[in-house]
Symmetry: C2
Subunit: 230 residues, 2 copies
DNA sequence: AATTGACATCTGTGATCACAGGTGAATATA
DNA sequence: TATATTCACCTGTGATCACAGATGTCAATT
């Protein structure tokens, strides 16, 4: 067989299983599922218009990643985090997301940098508008644009898992603060600007530093909120 | 309801799915599956004495983690790594396994340290005996005893995923070196000793440093072997 | 009136069946 | 003899069916 000069990708086969997983992942990453929410396979299958089969493989996977918990004969639950697990998640987010930002500073193309800057603006716009899901969705898109630019598919997948577990745990606190003290988020916009700036200047060390600072602020917000009204 | 003084664990429900996953994971982590090996769902189901169902959920999961590749209508394959992915895996192993060793130095109980030291001896014994699967199995047990002592379940899972992808890629090189230049591994035993020593002295920085050195040596071995006879 | 008992219902799990699609060997053709 | 073509077989994927177990309701009993 002759070597094709096109070298086309093998054209990844997308199964209903993958599709179901992608949907649930997106729901978790964009804060639309909060701890305590319960689901059932049959209900999800009906919503997606398929049989239970693809849904249950997706749920099995998410349950293995501890992004969902399956109660035997009782349904599927978005788990609440105990303090120890939450602490470990923050630690790993500092480590992996910080590292990914450093790598992004090294590898991002100018087109990617431009796209990242655009997405940053969208986050701030939604944030000042005060709509929760808008800002969560936009923020997710902004962050993952950076992590994709880091050119590390394995690390990207780890970060997805971390955030699927972490985001639901943060949503309530963000909603409260967005309603009561929206000015609190000014610090976020500053950090976002600083991060984009570091990426554009190719300063890997600074990028990681800014990212960790940003995450630490979020952790403080969430810890305060859950400490105040548990 | 009265608070039970026993506070028993909820007794985790173990499904055939989990069992099948554990089996395949173990086969990958202990080097018994090498790149290029092909499997089928029906064959695995027959070996495990179940229907295809539990096996396929386990395989779906492993394929999502890219520890296995499923070729549409053609079977399941243990994937070979391209250079880019291999490099990223090494980078992440330095990061996460190094970090886990540092954490183990902080949190390991004396009982765990004793067990780790025992397992270290077993690795060296099998290594000097020259039997491949013995040393791989013992080494896996030794390393994971350390990572469990680090008290980070999420990080532990990430490390498992990394090694499921990395170990098959290393097996052939280790076999070759074990046969041709067994003295090469003396460096390993020294590193293992140094690692256990660092753990016992609670020196987190040193533990990470030794671990990274150990991994770097393994990477050099594997890269040399695959560069020599690709 | 409070407690206990049974039962109807709903859950995830596992098995079996049906199917589209890809492979490769055997066959027919030039 | 070399090439093209067909076709039987085997694969993963998806749907449907069967089942054990947990829950909560409702009635019978004390």
């Amino acid at each position: 067989m002759a070597e094709s000069p096109l070298a086309l990708e093998p054209l990844a086969r997308v199964t209903l299983n993958d599709l179901a997983y992608a949907r649930l992942k997106h729901a978790l990453l964009s804060g639309r599922l909060e701890p305590g929410t319960t689901l059932t396979l049959r209900e999800l299958a009906a919503q997606l218009g398929t049989s239970m089969m693809p849904v249950r493989e997706a749920v099995t996977r998410l349950s293995a990643e501890q992004a969902l918990t399956v109660l035997p004969n009782r349904g599927i639950k978005v788990p609440a985090l105990d303090a120890g697990t939450a602490a470990e998640l923050w630690r790993l987010r500092f480590l992996l997301e910080g590292d990914a930002c450093a790598e992004a500073a090294r590898h991002a193309s100018t087109a990617e940098l431009a796209r990242i800057a655009t997405l940053r603006d969208a986050v701030e716009a939604h944030g000042r508008g005060g709509d929760l899901y808008g800002v969560l969705e936009a923020n997710s898109a902004f962050q993952f644009a950076i992590y994709e630019a880091a050119r590390g598919p394995v690390a990207l997948q780890f970060i997805e898992v971390l955030r699927m577990k972490s985001v639901p745990h943060c949503t309530a606190a963000i909603r409260g603060m967005l309603r009561e003290r929206p000015a609190y988020f000014d610090e976020c916009w500053v950090n976002h600007d600083a991060l984009v700036d570091a990426l554009m200047r190719r300063d890997a060390v600074l990028a990681r530093e800014v990212k960790v600072r940003d995450l630490r602020a979020l952790q403080a917000l969430v810890d305060d909120a859950s400490g105040a009204q548990p």
